[in-house]
Every structure is written in structure tokens, then in C-alpha cells.
């Protein structure tokens, strides 16, 4: 499957990945509308961690043996057998946050503003390339087949 790789050497901490991720997962998919009118706002599913001059963007690693899928009590979190992408079915998610407790990377967030569901990277499965990768101005995020 394809996975997103992070070159932390060249992450400039601009957080454009977060912004475009928010837009992509918003109702309108338009940047101005997403930040202005789509209320409550959408969460970014990629997160830039930063200490001093070191920073990197991290999103769901789509683990081979994803602990979140095992921990999920409602069967919402599941790994697609064909694509390998771990996706949370928002219709099924009951917001128990078990996935958050077991995620070794801390990349699942509580979306309490809109629906009470676990919010995580879906690898932009309906796009040619994830929007965080596409919009990184310094090519610090790359998607590669592994």
C-alpha cells in the first residue's frame, strides 16, 4: 500500500498540511468557507509536532496490525483489506475513545465539535494524492508505495 513518509529535516513548521487537511474534510471543501462558515469547524487529521527548530507532521500510520481496530468496541474502526487504509466509519463510531487510548502515535483526535466521533487520517482515499502531501511547500511529506 501507499504510505505517507515524513522528512523532518525539511518540515518548516508552516502547518499548511493541517490547513489543507481541514479544508479537505470540511463540508464545503473551499478554504474560505471552511474557515468561516462551516461551523463548527473541522479538525485537521494531520498534526505538526514542534520543539524549537525541530518539527514534523504526523498522521495515522495505517499500521499493519492496527491496535485501534482491535480496541474498537463498535466495529467502526476497520482496516480495508484491499487498500490497507484504516478508516473510522463515522456512522458506527460511538465515541468511546478506546482507539485513542491504544494509538501508539497519538494521531486520533476527539471530534467533539461536530459529531462525537474519532477523527483520523483517511489517506484522502478519494484523491489522487493526500492533500497534506500535495500542499507541502517544501516536499517534506511524500507518499510512497511500500
Amino acid at each position: 500500500m501507499k504510505k505517507i513518509f515524513i522528512d523532518e529535516q525539511y518540515c518548516i513548521g508552516c502547518r499548511l498540511c493541517e490547513i489543507y487537511c481541514q479544508v479537505k474534510h470540511s463540508k464545503s471543501k473551499k478554504i474560505l468557507k471552511a474557515f468561516r462558515e462551516d461551523q463548527p469547524g473541522t479538525l485537521a487529521r494531520v498534526l505538526v509536532e514542534e520543539i524549537g527548530s525541530n518539527s514534523f507532521a504526523i498522521q495515522c500510520r495505517h499500521c499493519e496490525d492496527a491496535p485501534c481496530t482491535g480496541a474498537c468496541i463498535s466495529g467502526a474502526m476497520a482496516k480495508n483489506e484491499n487498500t490497507g487504509v484504516v478508516i473510522c466509519d463515522e456512522e458506527k463510531c460511538v465515541g468511546c475513545w478506546s482507539c485513542i487510548m491504544v494509538c501508539p502515535y497519538g494521531v486520533i483526535k476527539r471530534d467533539i465539535k461536530s459529531k462525537k466521533v474519532a477523527s483520523k487520517c483517511d489517506l484522502c482515499f478519494d484523491e489522487e494524492e493526500p492533500v497534506c502531501v500535495k500542499n507541502c511547500p517544501n516536499e517534506a511529506l511524500k507518499i510512497k508505495e511500500i
Binding site: 529535516q9 518548516i12 508552516c14 502547518r15 490547513i19 474560505l32 474557515f35 527548530s53
Partner: protein, 506 residues
């Protein structure tokens, strides 16, 4: 509040209908011109801190920011121009020398813009470089007096011995820019673009960083007045050695890399203590004459077993023609001449804008002088000092240059917006800085692609212009000033350039 005589140079316009308060501009500005107000959830800007580098504008996802020049606020005065008044305010306040970066921005004549190139019509056919071979390969080094060829059983063989030379796939090299004046990522981009394109970059006086040693075959190393980073391996691993006497932006002036920029990495590359100021004296203290220069040239040739071309870089000053003649007679294999519009990381503004002569006149004068003395073949001429386009290159070659160095153009390709604040070390584009938060912004793999793109584009344009003039090899254009015509130039300018005025036929 203290009295503020100098007002902001720029206006930061923020379209509040478009600003989403994402804070990208806040995070990107090393001058702290933007600030997020958490109470109001808005971004505020302080124009007085803006240097006009356009980083925020380039990264703003909604195009909400426009950086504009602030309109003149003084009464019109052709004598006391705004720059004079502002500089006096600044100097009266600080009592210091005005520093600046990049090349002169003063409106002196740019002779390239007064020279027009020729094309073939009827009496000689033009050539389409996409369909017919076109040679722009260039050699840098001394040429033999004459070529002797002997015939043996297997065919013809070159009998004359050729001296060491550099082989360039295009007549463009990257100028000397040291690690220290620019970031390691900028150096990596230059080195790897030179390597992949088959040309050369120049270490400047920064020494050769260990990560760049595998590009040594595409490296010209510099020996300058501070002798930083110079050792046996440095000289022997490089493709050529350049003795730096002067720089176009600041002839007669040395260099000073402040101690705070001398990080552990730079200290080991330059071979000086960490945190110590790296001072390049104004002169080489062992070179006070052409004879002294000859000694250093031959000392380096000895050290490199006469296997590498050794050149000398000088800035274009009033006596450049006899100086160049002396350099060639001292044994240099190439002479690099840097014109007064050449760039720099830091120079006193008074010197940058007032000292030296334009490269076009210097080049014409040197080429003419060396031809008259019958020694033009003994050294190649590389010129520098504001080569802005492929047409500048083709005109330079027709005026007599073998190749050109590009510095500012290369940095622009890497994102430089010519804000002229290199000396502050806060370059938002990750070029003229050593701050790890800023240097990351220049990803060398992107930098390499962009520089290679520029070289490819300019090489293609050079071929197109050569073809249009009916020439199929750049060697046939070199020094062929009949292909040039001046426009709006005086008799004396035309005579120094050695070209006819537009409208004059052969």
C-alpha cells in the same frame, strides 16, 4: 516613544475578507512582522518590521496578504532623493557604516540592455537547434599556441600537449558563495545541480564541507585572503583552484563572517575556532605585486601537480585591462572578472554602489587588451556581476568571455526575492542564514531541480539564439563582436565595447 525619523519601507496589506487567521505568515516571518492576537483571533502586522522578502505572501493559502512599497513621503527633490535622506537619518542615529546585501540597485547603465544581437537572413542560413546539432560545450583553461597534429597508421593524433582544463556542458558556472554566507542546503543545491548538469560551483572562501566532498569533481575551490579551509586535500580534490583577490560588490574590501554565524559545522569546514569572527583581510598579505601573485599561482600548481587549472578572480576596476594582462602573464589559466553590479552577502553600501566599473566595459577592455598583446589564448575569461538572462550570456560571449558565473540569478532560482537583507542572517528563504529553523526551508532536492531547470532553460535559449544567427558552435561566437550592435550609446562607449552602432552594416 522615541522619535522615529525613518518610516516603514513597505505596507503590509491584509484582506480581512480572505484572512483565515491560520498563522502561516506568523510562523514564516523571521522578522516578527506578523503577530496572532488570541483575544480577537486575528493576525496583526507591524509594517516597520517588514523587509519585503514576500515569504508570507508566497505561503499565504488564501492570498490575503499583499506587500506593497510605501509611497514616497518626502517632498519631491531630484537632488536630495529619498535614499539620501533615509540613510542620513539612519546614520545619524547609529553612527555606523551602512551595510547592505546583494548587488547594487542604483540606476547605472546596464550595457547588456544597450546591445542587440544579430540574426541570419538570406545571405547566410539560420539553423534550427531542435533539428541540427548545436555545440555549447565550453573549455576553461589555457589553450596551446598552435595545434600540432601527426598522422600515424591508425589515423590522426594530437601532438600538442594540452594544459589542464575544465569541461562545461554549458558556458555557465555558479559563482563563489561560501558556506557561511549561504546555508549548507543552498551549497548542496548548487553543488548537486552543477554535478548533474556537468558544470561547476565554487566554494567561495568557506572551505569544502564534508557532505559536499563527493561533488569535488564539479567544485572550484577558492583560496582567498583569509585562507579558510585551505589544505592539501582541499586543493587536490577540487577540479580547479581560484585565487580570490576581489569581489565586484566590494572591490578593495575584505570579508567578515560574524562569530555568531561560525557554528560547529562552519568552524570545522573553515578550520577556525567555533564562535570566532572569520575575517578575510582586504588584501592577501603575501601578494603586493604581480610577481607575488605568480608565486602563489605556481605554489598552488606545484601542490596540485600541474593537473588543475588555477585562476584568479578580480573585481572590475579602472585599470582592469593591464591588471588582467598581468594575471595572465603570472600564469593564471583563467581570469574571473566580477563587475560592479555583482552580489554579496554583506558590503558597505557606499562601496557597493560607487566602486568599480560595469562588467560589459571591463570584459571588452580586457579581451581587447589580451588580443592586442597576443596572450588571449593563454587564459580563459569568466565574467560575473549580474548576468540576468541567457541573452546577457550570449552578448558576453560575443564580447569575448569564455563563460559566465551566475550568483544572484542562482539564488533567485532558489527563492531569493532580493530584499538585500542577507547580512542580518534572517533570510526567510533559508538561503543567507545559519539559523536551523530557517535553513530547513530550502530543501536541496527542490533547489537542485530549480537550478537545473534554469541551466536547461538558458542553455536552450542560447542554442536558439546561436541558431538564429546561423552559428552551430559557441566557439564560433566567442569574441565575434560583429554579431553585436549598440543602441543609444556614445562613440566612446561603442569604441570601448568594440562594437558598431545599430544601423551600421559590415
Amino acid at each position: 516613544m522615541p522619535l522615529k525619523l525613518n518610516q516603514s519601507e513597505f505596507v503590509v496589506e491584509r484582506d480581512l475578507n480572505k484572512c483565515i487567521s491560520c498563522e502561516v505568515c506568523v510562523r514564516q516571518c523571521s522578522n516578527d512582522a506578523h503577530e496572532y492576537d488570541a483575544d480577537d483571533k486575528t493576525v496583526l502586522s507591524e509594517a516597520s518590521k517588514c523587509v519585503g522578502c514576500h515569504r508570507c505572501e508566497s505561503l499565504c493559502p488564501t492570498e490575503a496578504i499583499t506587500i506593497r512599497k510605501k509611497a514616497a513621503e518626502f517632498k519631491d527633490n531630484s537632488n536630495w532623493q529619498q535614499a539620501h535622506i533615509k540613510n542620513i537619518y539612519k546614520q545619524a542615529e547609529t553612527g555606523g557604516v551602512l551595510l547592505t546585501g546583494m548587488g547594487s540597485d542604483k540606476p547605472h547603465t546596464v550595457y547588456w540592455d544597450h546591445i542587440l544581437f544579430n540574426a541570419a537572413q538570406v545571405t547566410n542560413p539560420s539553423i534550427d537547434p531542435l533539428r541540427e546539432p548545436m555545440e555549447i560545450k565550453t573549455f576553461i583553461g589555457a589553450k596551446p599556441e598552435k595545434l600540432e597534429i601527426e598522422k600515424n597508421d591508425s589515423g590522426f593524433k594530437l601532438k600538442s600537449k594540452l594544459g589542464p582544463h575544465l569541461e562545461l556542458s554549458t558556458p555557465i558556472l555558479f559563482s563563489a558563495m561560501s558556506y557561511g554566507s549561504i546555508s549548507l542546503n543552498a551549497c548542496k543545491s548548487l553543488a548537486s545541480a552543477a554535478y548533474s548538469f556537468g558544470t561547476f560551483y565554487n566554494t567561495g572562501e568557506g572551505g569544502m564541507h564534508k557532505d559536499l566532498q563527493h561533488f569535488a569533481k564539479n567544485t572550484i575551490v577558492q583560496v582567498a585572503s583569509g585562507r579558510f579551509g585551505v589544505n592539501r586535500q582541499y586543493l587536490r580534490s577540487a577540479a580547479a583552484v581560484e585565487i580570490k583577490i576581489g569581489q565586484g560588490a566590494k572591490p578593495g574590501i575584505g570579508g567578515h563572517l560574524p562569530g555568531e554565524k561560525v557554528t560547529a559545522d562552519i568552524s570545522s569546514t573553515r578550520m577556525i575556532p567555533e564562535g570566532s569572527d572569520a575575517i578575510s583581510p582586504a588584501p592577501h598579505h603575501d601578494i603586493y605585486s604581480i610577481e607575488d601573485l605568480a608565486q602563489l599561482i605556481y605554489a598552488i600548481k606545484e601542490a596540485t601537480d600541474y593537473l588543475k587549472p588555477v585562476g584568479v578572480k578580480v573585481s572590475a576596476v579602472h585599470n582592469i585591462a593591464p591588471i588582467a594582462s598581468g594575471i595572465v602573464r603570472a600564469g593564471a589559466d583563467f581570469v574571473a572578472i566580477d563587475g560592479f553590479r555583482g552580489g554579496t552577502g554583506a558590503a558597505p553600501q557606499a562601496i557597493r554602489d560607487n566602486v568599480g566599473i560595469p562588467i560589459e566595459l571591463a570584459l571588452a577592455a580586457v579581451d581587447t587588451r589580451l588580443r592586442e598583446e597576443g596572450i588571449r589564448h593563454k587564459a580563459a575569461i569568466i565574467i560575473a556581476g549580474s548576468i540576468r538572462s541567457s541573452s546577457d550570456i550570449i552578448k558576453a560571449i560575443a564580447l569575448g568571455a569564455d563563460a559566465v558565473y551566475i550568483g544572484t540569478a542562482a539564488l533567485i532560482a532558489l527563492g531569493c526575492h532580493l530584499c538585500q537583507k542577507c547580512y542580518t542572517g534572517k533570510c526567510n528563504w533559508g538561503i543567507a542564514t545559519q539559523d536551523p529553523y530557517l535553513t530547513k526551508r530550502l530543501n536541496p532536492s527542490i533547489g537542485t531541480k530549480r537550478l537545473s531547470g534554469l541551466l536547461r532553460a538558458w542553455s536552450h535559449e542560447i542554442k536558439e539564439m546561436l541558431g538564429g544567427a546561423g552559428i552551430n558552435a559557441i566557439e564560433s561566437l566567442r569574441g565575434n563582436r560583429e554579431h553585436l550592435r549598440g543602441i543609444n550609446l556614445s562613440e566612446i562607449e561603442l569604441s570601448i565595447l568594440g562594437i558598431k552602432h545599430a544601423g551600421q552594416a559590415w
